[in-house]
Symmetry: C2
Subunit: 305 residues, 2 copies
């Protein structure tokens, strides 16, 4: 039946993958790439993370140029727009040292306009860019269960699928270069607002002496149900704000989304308010808390503990 040289089974292509930035997200992603059978070379400013990757079966590089010189795919995972720019640009950067035709997957969460500009620069250098920010946090990275929102050319997205499948679960092409970052910005807007309103609701329920465990159960079963309620509700009840995803990074992301919304003439009234509340919480010294720590701000504004 059918042509025996054709098969519906997809063969996984193993690649040489360079991972630049072995932090809380980049290291587990690199390890999952090793586990999937790819050849993974890591570079990081601090050596201990490189040593950790090597102990898991990866290779260590002495510089960005060293990491990317034989790579088919380069993944960058660094904190902010200037960090990405610093890693890819200049004589020591990815664009100057990677082979023509290399896929560059920027998994960092940065400004959509910067992502678009750097993608143009990549193409000028013969590099195929994808902006591919992730959602799902450290646990999602460890479990290879990240959601990945990808901007760039469709054929480059298809070419990256074996690498992306090694680190994520819900992997979606959302449009041209920059679109991945736009969707990530929208993601961070929704998440911050969901956290804040959950905090407002819990403070309200506590003030009225309601059984909050029972209340969260029934709220989660109805239209108020959300991933934020499932994952952050108990942390708020317990006043346990261990990260997780730090408020300082969410503060950065809300700067991105409010600025990008203004640029596009889109009104985000709740986004604007939550950006101020997150900023205040960070300003008061709580930037290292999990973003569910925004609940502390609600409690403070309500004169509660």
């Amino acid at each position: 039946m059918g042509n025996p040289t054709q098969t519906s089974e997809k063969r996984t292509t193993m690649s040489n993958v360079a991972v630049i930035g072995l932090g809380i997200m980049g290291l587990p992603m690199a390890i999952n790439l090793v586990k999937a059978g790819h050849t993974v070379t890591g570079f990081n400013r601090s050596q201990d993370k490189i040593d950790k990757l090597v102990s898991e079966g990866g290779k260590g590089a002495t510089s960005i140029a060293d990491a990317v010189k034989d790579a088919d795919v380069v993944i960058t995972m660094v904190p902010d727009s200037p960090d990405v720019e610093g890693v890819v640009s200049g004589e020591e950067g990815v664009f100057a040292n990677a082979k023509k035709g290399t896929l560059w997957i920027d998994a960092s969460s940065i400004r959509p306009d910067v992502a678009k500009r750097l993608s143009d620069e990549a193409r000028d250098a013969g590099i195929r860019p994808l902006d591919a920010p992730v959602s799902g946090g450290e646990q999602g990275a460890i479990d290879a269960a990240l959601s990945i929102m990808v901007g760039g050319d469709k054929e480059d997205f298809d070419a990256a699928s074996d690498v992306l499948n090694a680190v994520g679960k819900t992997i979606v092409h959302v449009g041209p270069s920059g679109s991945g970052q736009t969707v990530k910005a929208a993601n961070q807007l929704i998440v911050a607002v969901n956290i804040e309103v959950l905090g407002e609701a819990i403070a309200f329920l506590e003030a009225y002496g309601v059984d909050t465990d029972a209340a969260l159960k029934v709220l989660g079963g109805g239209l108020a149900g959300s991933k934020v309620l499932d994952q952050k509700g108990q942390k708020m009840l317990d006043r346990n704000f261990d990260p997780g995803f730090r408020l300082a990074l969410h503060h950065k992301d809300l700067g991105i989304v409010t600025s990008a919304a203004r640029e596009a003439n889109v009104a985000v009234p709740l986004g604007a308010v939550v950006a101020q509340l997150v900023a205040a919480t960070v300003n008061q010294g709580d930037g290292a808390l999990d973003h569910s720590g925004l609940f502390k701000q609600v409690l403070q504004l309500s004169g509660r503990k």
Copy 2:
């Protein structure tokens, strides 16, 4: 093995149930009570809804007094606090005409302080009160899949379980009288904010020309995922705001939650903003739209269609 007179199977007790208010929610709830085997007597201001219940196997009453005189359980399902008060108080009302010991389940969504006061009045009249507002909308009522948040005495909650199970799925006792309404208020706060921020996110994505179908898929797979995104995202993309749950009723509910929060000294900054945005949308003549129609306000504030 074990005592044959004891069994772990629970026997369902059939009751005489009076349902006052056969509207968009009350009628399907009454019909589901009939289907579950209860004897159901309905009363409504307009006769056509009573006729509909009778055609489904229920009985019609000529007055509230007539409906409740033989009832074991009375369910009230009317729009607002004054409506509940009008139905239960006075010589013609539930309290004056129901038997001593009757369970009164108020499934309406009303002010927690009014629920508490009316519960006290019910007890004075020998009636056992439960405030049991529901979430899940018309479809949830039709499917007997409502979430029900119940305030009142635990033994009365237990006594009502066969009736509540006939109309709902997630049924939780959340505390003393008034607590059900407090949790419902929190529910409406979370839902309104989730709708508004989803609208802000979609307007933002559309402004940037992102593939919104793909974007909603990946957003729903991550921490931004919610029931509101699942149920209202497509309606926003399609500009289809057929109700569903009407904005005018959500406007009423946000009045309840902001007032109750102020009363309890709880700050609800996002609740306050969303209450204003819903009010504006209702003021502009869109109160009859589904609450996802709040998206129209975002579009208007952004100069978009």
